[in-house]
């Protein structure tokens, strides 16, 4: 069923408008600003639920399409729509943002209205990125997104925030300008910025390889893939809790989304030729970054490295499809890797967000992120301890949590590609468990580490709501992933068929 109102535009502009309103209100009116932010982000979430409810899971076609002329000179359109890949990510974005607003409720004392406004504007832009069907609109929103994030890390971040935020901005900016050149090239070849037209455009292998490389730089920085991941630990460590959550839960997904929406369908032959490269980088991320995570002293850094390792599964699942098809000739088999990649993205959004919230809870009390400063937290914060252990288990892929579903699907799929892929990928079950559980052991369990820990207070109602909601989502997706898989199925099947056709 298609809504008769522009639901995607509402999702894009409602948070942005609320953000502008907060900026106009100014920081003197902190209390109303918080309520406005909560109301706007909750309303956006409600709209996203309506989007989910009305979504037709039987078709791969774009739904809720809006198309208005925008820039005549460039033939660029204000063109929005969703399919099974983008819809879950939009719901995820709308789900996480209210939690970020709640989590920052009293913690942020410096310029609270500007803080909330940045997150609301960011939310609208991120939803726009997932909904854009015009490459120019996509690019504009993709870049515009950097501005609020730059401000969030720079104003409300930790001691080295300036270094971290400039590094974050320049890294991602460098990645995306090459994508811009590729998009302009495609426009000049095809005369249109519509993504669907780019799918249909025949391209020689050399063109595809160049375009694929340009996209790869943009999306690999965002995912981030080894070796262009170094901005992420810095940005995560210095960002305020809300910023880390949005970074990990949503922004990293943009890279994975970009591979599915741009790289694979626009340059399928180059993707087939170069799939070994992506798979190799993904496996390095899974194994090597897993080992790096093991030695971290800083909780946020550890989770940041763990994010990189988990995002390796996304790229592995997406690019294993070619070898699976070559080995088995079955489209279903190839689709399984992509299914796994998508589930992993949503699940990692929930779990990494939750873990950053957990660290935020501790940081707000102790103002330290060093593992060595903690120990035996469960003695003074039993409820928090329970949540932390749950999310840690989910992060290491315990069956019954959402972390298991994505990793399992990807590992299963990569077995069909090559035993060694699966073997290396499965190492994460050991490494992930090792670094996460060791973290939990050192921070949560054991005897009370010091007097500060002994004085800790358990979760307040606000924190309980945030972590509780996330825990329900992680378990629900882990126990019953079918709704998510059903929604994606037609789109992924179509994508796989598209991949196996050549554009030469």
């Amino acid at each position: 069923m298609q809504a008769d109102w522009p639901i995607l535009s509402v999702l894009l502009w409602l948070p942005v408008a609320a953000g502008v309103l907060l900026l106009l209100l100014g920081d003197r009116n902190a209390a109303p600003a918080r309520w406005i932010a909560l109301a706007a982000s909750t309303a956006t979430f409600v709209v996203s639920v309506i989007l989910w409810r009305d979504f037709d899971a039987t078709t791969a076609a774009m739904q809720f399409v809006e198309r208005e002329p925008w820039i005549g000179a460039f033939n660029a359109w204000y063109h929005l729509g969703v399919d099974g890949i983008s819809m879950p990510l939009i719901v995820l974005t709308a789900f996480i943002t209210p939690l970020v607003v709640i989590a920052g409720w009293t913690v942020i004392e410096k310029r609270p209205a500007q803080y909330l406004a940045s997150f609301l504007i960011l939310e609208g832009l991120m939803i726009g990125v997932f909904a854009a069907l015009d490459a120019m609109l996509f690019y504009v929103l993709w870049e515009a997104m950097l501005i609020p994030m730059f401000v969030i890390i720079g104003v409300w971040g930790g001691p080295r925030r300036v270094y971290a935020t400039i590094k974050f901005f320049l890294y991602t900016f460098l990645g995306s300008v090459l994508m811009l050149v590729a998009l302009v090239y495609l426009y000049l070849q095809g005369g249109s910025y519509a993504i669907a037209d780019m799918y249909a455009l025949p391209l020689s292998l050399r063109e595809q390889v160049l375009i694929f490389t340009a996209f790869l730089v943009a999306f690999a920085v965002k995912v981030p893939m080894w070796p262009v991941h170094t901005w992420l630990p810095d940005a995560h460590v210095e960002a305020p809790t809300g910023g880390s959550v949005i970074l990990a839960a949503i922004m990293l997904k943009m890279g994975g989304y970009g591979f599915l929406r741009f790289s694979l369908p626009i340059a399928p032959d180059a993707s087939r030729e170069l799939d070994w490269l992506i798979i190799a980088l993904s496996l390095i991320a899974v194994v090597y970054i897993g080992l790096v995570a093991l030695v971290q002293q800083d909780m946020k850094k550890l989770i940041a490295y763990s994010s990189i390792a988990h995002m390796g599964f996304v790229t592995l699942g997406a690019f294993a499809a070619f070898q699976i098809f070559r080995n088995t000739g079955s489209l279903q088999g190839a689709a399984m890797g992509l299914d796994g990649a998508m589930v992993q993205m949503v699940s990692h959004g929930l779990i990494s967000g939750a873990l950053f919230f957990c660290i935020g809870v501790l940081y707000d009390r102790m103002h330290s992120r060093q593992i060595a400063d903690y120990g035996g937290v469960v003695n003074t914060m039993p409820v928090f301890g329970a949540f932390a252990v749950l999310f840690a288990m989910a992060n290491s892929g315990l069956p019954g949590t959402s972390g298991f579903v994505g990793e399992f699907l990807v590992i299963l799929a990569s077995f069909r590609a090559s035993f060694w892929y699966a073997f290396l990928a499965a190492l994460t079950l050991i490494l992930g468990a090792a670094y996460t559980l060791w973290l939990v052991k050192r921070v949560i369990f054991g005897p009370v580490g010091n007097a500060h820990v002994a004085a800790l207070e358990d979760l307040n109602g606000r924190e309980f709501i945030v972590l509780g909601v996330l825990a329900v989502a992680v378990l629900a997706l882990g126990l019953w992933p079918a709704p998510l898989l059903d929604v994606m199925r037609p789109t992924i099947e179509q994508l796989v068929q598209q991949l196996m056709l050549t554009k030469l």
Partner: protein, 481 residues
Amino acid sequence: MNPASITRLDLVLAAPEIFLLSAICVILLVDLFVDDARRVVTFVLSLVALAGAAWVTARTGVDTRTVAWHGTYVADPLSGLLKVVAYGAVAVVFLYSYGYLYVRRLLKGEFFVLGLFALLGIMVLISANSLVTLYLGVELLSLSMYALVAFNRDSAVCAEAAIKYFVLGSIASGALLYGMSMIYGVTGTLQLGPVSEAVARLGTNQIGLLFGLAFIIVGVAFKFGGVPFHMWVPDVYHGAPTPVTLMLSSAPKLASFALAFRLLAEGLAGLHDGWQDMLAVIAVLSMAVGNIVAIAQPNLKRMLAYSTISHVGFILMGILAGTSRGYEAALYYTITYVIMAVGGFGMILLLSRAGFEADRLEDFKGLNARSPWFAAVMLMLMFSMAGVPPFVGFWAKLAVIQAALDVGLLWLAIAAVAFSVIGAYYYLRIVKLMYFDEPAQRDALEASRSFRLVLSANGLAVLLLGMYPGLLLAVCARVIP
């Protein structure tokens, strides 16, 4: 030229120039009879003159290219657009400068009169259809600007900047004139139309033509401030009083575009292969030097000077494509650059007050705490100059990159985006100072209501033109043949 041979059409087409010249004479006379306390009269009259010129231009505008004054003057939609933008830019410059000049007791009639003479030079340049008219426009503009740079008579820095500007500018004018004389010698005509025909007839291997072309490129690059002819830009921008820097960075850029367009696109189109390579070198060097050296500047005026140099690289990139799409892109870039530059220097004027110049980077520290709105305006200007969407500067960069890719200059496009990433750093640094640092002083901004209003509109224009870039792009596409 025999006065009797002047037709009515000649007068009508040149009405904007005639009107402005008359208005300048009136203002000059009126200014003799007002004292410093009532200098506002001159200011208001100048704005009225600009509005009048805009009205006359709109009334006498033409839809098709029309040549007048025996082939030395051309009126076309492009000239109409460029002139109107120039009036707007000069009007905004006057508005921004008034308060600054007033508190420093520099509010003299000469500022406005020289500014209007510079504008007249720009207009002559824009409508020039022969080498002599072009040169006339260049000289009228340059001489007014030399005097304006030295406008603060008691300042040694200003005098130094003016002398430097004058000496280097004269050399560049000489080079330009020498190149023009070579072209004249080979083609036997001064008018651009016949020059173009002669070039097409003589072919691209005529050594005299290429020789002349090289000198013309030197002159054009100097007027633009492209590397390696950029040495005057940072010193003059830094040394001149801020209102004059504001003036220098705005309307004269339109003139430089017109100079390049009339000479290269209309006169020497046949030598495109030759000047494309020369401009490509200048464009890449400008983007490289401008963006890299700007990083090391502690003075905001100097930083913006280097930023100008890098923007010039982008404008040249559009021109060197040599296609209508390229000229459109370069025109679009020039206009958006003028909007951004006026806003950027306007911010310096906003923060300055008696005895305080606000032209160092530190002066922007913690602006967000002092005035969230103007910090946001500066943020928009900086991200726009860096080429980050959704601001208008992004579309300008996109347009020139499209133009370059369209003619197969992939390497140039990649160089451009790479240098724009380097450039992003120093714009980000301003945002960092405004938002991430605490202010050194917390006093409120002293600026008149009209100043604030115009500057706010300037900032919003950067955003709105960026959200809906189609409007200005369509206008640019319509005026380029």
